[in-house]
């Protein structure tokens, strides 16, 4: 049983670090009703500040910790001031998207400054271990536990005993009322972001020491784990977040002990979905609690969509078709082929998130389902490619809708969290289900695209096929939007309560939106797989999900032409200007931030 003792200790330590993140998320949600996706980036910054302090400045541990606390807190204040506060009057989802943009910017900045290579943070503590029974506890374990308990105690004292602590709690209960009685709500926000960021930064440096490795990309996973812990404990519930974190740590630790390291995150996300479906208010919500405050998940800024005249659209389409004949630039044609494939993804998401109001953050999973279905059917079973691509679309439609159906009962931010979790689950299943998906090595030697039995290698031919598919599905989507389904989905988006009162079954129409959107995305993923000839579990990652959302917002939510324009702008332009890959993600982050702030209705307007 010795190992179980070690696994429990390990789980509690990891849980402690999740707790440092989740408490901050809960505090921020309490005062701002915002799920802060940039929180993991603060943790990354904390880890790298720690690395600089230890490895470059050679500071002793207390000074390292103090530096991390101060710089992370300043970063938190900056995030609040420049990322969140300007969006105070915007729809609820706007600050959430802004924090996603911020996380891209921060993570990518760290990556550019420190290179993507992992670094080790030297441990600054004596490396002795205390033997207990058959297991042992190390100095670092005790320190992490101690810091966790101290931080929780200090936070408790702050919230219960100090004037600003009262102000924080008052703001969490009722922001407007707090403002009316003279609480400086902006100052409260600043304090909360500073505290949350400081805790997150400390979490980062401690995890660096614990695992002895830090990378610029570890922030996203940290955000997700913090969110899972927060949801388990009840969103916005600070003590609940601590319990949820410890629970998550222990469940992961036992799961790893039973099945292996690659299952760690699968347990976390299955826990997330289970909690969201069974107890969306968290484990500790009283049963008779009122339903959570309705959070409109839609990103709908009332606007007049810009109608482009049909002749202009026809001329643009004719130009796109003629382009390979007009110029001899294979690179540009390839880039535009990519843009058409992303346009399909944008069409899919603009229907789901824009028309139907279900802001999905796991949309890349639909590409993965389509891509893997088609690739495996063609490579391993020898089906003709045109058939497997259709099968990929249908599988993404069917399986995607089935997987996301537990989230149909959720609203607002919870939909985004759930789809994010479901997307991660799909990636992890692909990684772990080796007998079918080839696991981590991916699928190689995927047969090329074909056109009526003839393989397609020619760049121009691939371009035309991609464009034709995109155009056909775009026109089909336009037709869908002009039918009763279009108005029904938009009614669900605008006011689901009123929609239900007129006999609209939410499950049915959310399901149809995901089915149609899943088909479109699945076709895109399948086409991409055959074009690349190789895919693995990372080909369709979360960055692509966020990029899809940026495309949809840039074009105008629900806007078919906008999705195509957004894809050309975000995929085509960086290629044309030959922007290096790491700067490109930075650019996407900045684009998302600017859009949310200055043109939430997108270029062509919300439909």
């Amino acid at each position: 049983m010795t190992s179980w003792f070690d696994h429990t200790i390990n789980g509690l330590i990891i849980g402690n670090i999740y707790g440092l993140l989740a408490v901050g998320l809960a505090l921020i949600f309490g005062v701002s009703r915002l799920i802060n996706f940039a929180h993991g980036s603060v943790y990354v910054v904390g880890a790298y500040v720690g690395w600089v302090a230890v490895s470059v400045l050679h500071t002793p541990f207390p000074v390292t910790l103090a530096l991390v606390v101060i710089l992370a807190a300043l970063l938190g204040i900056a995030i609040e001031r420049f990322g969140i506060r300007p969006l105070a009057g915007a729809p609820r989802i706007a600050p959430l998207l802004a924090t996603i943009g911020l996380s891209f910017v921060l993570d990518q900045t760290v990556q550019i400054l420190f290179s993507p290579d992992p670094r080790s943070v030297p441990m600054q503590l004596p490396n002795w271990r205390l033997e207990i029974g058959g297991g042992s506890i190390g100095m670092l374990d005790l320190l992490i536990g101690g810091i966790g308990i101290t931080a929780a105690g200090a936070l408790f004292a702050f919230l219960k005993l100090t004037k600003w602590g009262w102000a924080v709690r008052a703001t969490a209960l009722d922001r407007d009322a707090a403002r009316v009685v003279g609480v400086d709500v902006d100052q409260v926000n600043r304090i909360v972001f500073a505290i949350a960021a400081a805790l997150g930064g400390v979490g980062g440096v401690l995890v660096g020491m614990y695992y002895n490795v830090i990378t610029p990309t570890m922030g996203f996973e940290a955000t997700l784990k913090g969110i899972v812990a927060e949801v388990v404990g009840g969103v916005g519930n600070v003590p609940g977040a601590i319990v949820g974190s410890l629970l998550l740590g222990i469940i992961e630790s036992y799961g790893v002990a039973l099945l292996g390291t690659s299952y760690r995150n699968l347990f976390a996300f299955l826990l997330l979905i289970a909690i969201l479906v069974l107890r969306p208010n968290g484990l500790f919500a009283s049963r008779h609690q009122l339903p959570p405050e309705p959070m409109t998940g839609t990103f709908i800024a009332p606007s007049k969509p810009i109608g482009l005249p049909v002749p202009l659209l026809a001329a643009l389409a004719a130009f796109a078709i003629a382009l390979p004949l007009l110029i001899d630039n294979g690179y540009l044609i390839q880039t535009l082929t990519n843009a058409w494939l992303y346009a399909l993804l944008g069409l899919s998401l603009t229907l789901v998130a824009g028309t139907s109001g279900q802001v999905s953050l796991g949309h890349a999973a639909l590409l993965a389902i389509g891509g893997y279905t088609s690739a495996l059917l063609a490579a391993d079973y020898g089906f003709p490619v045109w058939l497997t691509i259709i099968a990929g679309g249908l599988m993404a439609a069917g399986l995607g809708t089935l997987l996301v159906s537990p989230a149909f009962r959720l609203r607002g931010h919870y939909v985004s969290i759930a789809t994010l979790g479901i997307g991660e689950i799909v990636a992890l299943v692909i990684l772990n289900w080796e007998s079918v998906t080839h696991g981590p090595i991916g699928v190689a030697g995927i047969p090329p695209l074909e056109f009526f039995g003839r393989p397609l290698y020619d760049t121009n031919a691939i371009y035309w096929v991609a464009f034709a598919i995109m155009l056909a599905l775009a026109l089909l989507q336009v037709r869908l939007l002009s039918s009763h389904l279009g108005r029904t989905m938009r009614a669900v988006r605008d006011d689901d309560v009123a929609a239900r009162s007129f006999g609209i079954s939410l499950n049915r129409y959310k399901g149809l939106a995901f089915a149609f959107g899943g088909f479109v995305a699945g076709i895109s993923g399948a086409f991409t797989a055959h074009m690349y000839s190789f895919i693995n579990h990372e080909t369709f990652n979360t960055h692509i999900s966020v990029l899809a959302l940026t495309i949809a917002i840039l074009g105008g939510m629900g806007n078919v032409g906008g999705a195509i324009l957004g894809a050309v702008a975000l995929i085509g332009l960086p290629e044309v200007f030959r922007i290096a890959a790491e700067y490109r993600i930075l650019l996407y982050g900045i684009a998302l931030l600017l859009l949310v702030r200055f043109r939430p209705q997108g270029l062509l307007g919300t439909v």
């Binding site: 008779h288 009122l290 709908i300 009332p302 007049k304 089909l476 037709r479 869908l480 039918s483 009763h484 389904l485 108005r487 029904t488 938009r490 009614a491 988006r493 605008d494 006011d495 309560v497 009123a498 929609a499 239900r500 009162s501 007129f502 006999g503 609209i504 079954s505 049915r508 399901g511 149809l512 089915a515 149609f516 919300t606 439909v607």
Partner: protein, 300 residues
Amino acid sequence: MNAPVNASPITTAPLLEATGLVRRFGGVTAVGGIDLSVFEGELVSVIGPNGAGKTTAFNLISGLDKPDAGAIRFAGANIAGRSPEGIAAAGIARTFQHGRVFANLSIADNVLIGAHGRLRAVRPDWPIIGPLAELALALVRPASVRAEEATLRDEVSEILSLFGDRLLPRIDQPAHSLSYANRRRVEIARALAARPRLLLLDEPTAGMNPTETAEMLEIIASLKARGQTILLIEHKLDMVMRLSDRVIVLDDGRKIAEGKPQAVRTDPAVIEAYLGHGNIGAAAPAGNAATAAPTLPVTA
């Protein structure tokens, strides 16, 4: 057909019959055992001070909220605790107190959503494959589907003409561009498009000026004249007195009076609920000074 009140209620079952409705929020009892019935063709008004439980009762009837106790029978079936979409399908349509139009939809689309439950050609009632068939029919649009849509669009214009020139000229404008009063009208039009057996109107004239209120009164009177069964929440008492066959008065989650408008108006319990104890309400309008018993002041 317009006088079911005079028909014997013992032999004719009411269209809607709620008994012993209870709804508590934490320690607060919003609705504490209300009985309420509406007969076919009747217009029943629910009045009462703010916080009396009127809207909560509406939410319970329309399924947005579930009662902690009590039964709701509609057209013979128990609908208590059913989903809102199930209750809509049973034939109840409602408007909302604060106006819940679909802001980004045009007036026409808003009203067409009201008719959603009546779509037949495009929503075949097939098990399991029904949703997929609906998707296919919406994309292919055979003649039957096109005809259904065209019929409904004609009907939308017809319903909107009920409001004169208030809505028809703006039929393609998004609802968020409308005035508050016009949004309330769109709500009523949307509810009418459902062709409900029972129409629940939650303060249809809230926020309207006297002219608009008078207009709304005419519209509701004409609906009643057509035989539409209506359950109305309203604060403007002269409207209630003029329209209602029967008035139910709620206070603090309980029914304190029920009866014909004139009877309710002179009921001491009602007057106390509205005007409070002592002499707060002593300054009754001059017009009522002649009547022997105190009467609820009626203002527009």
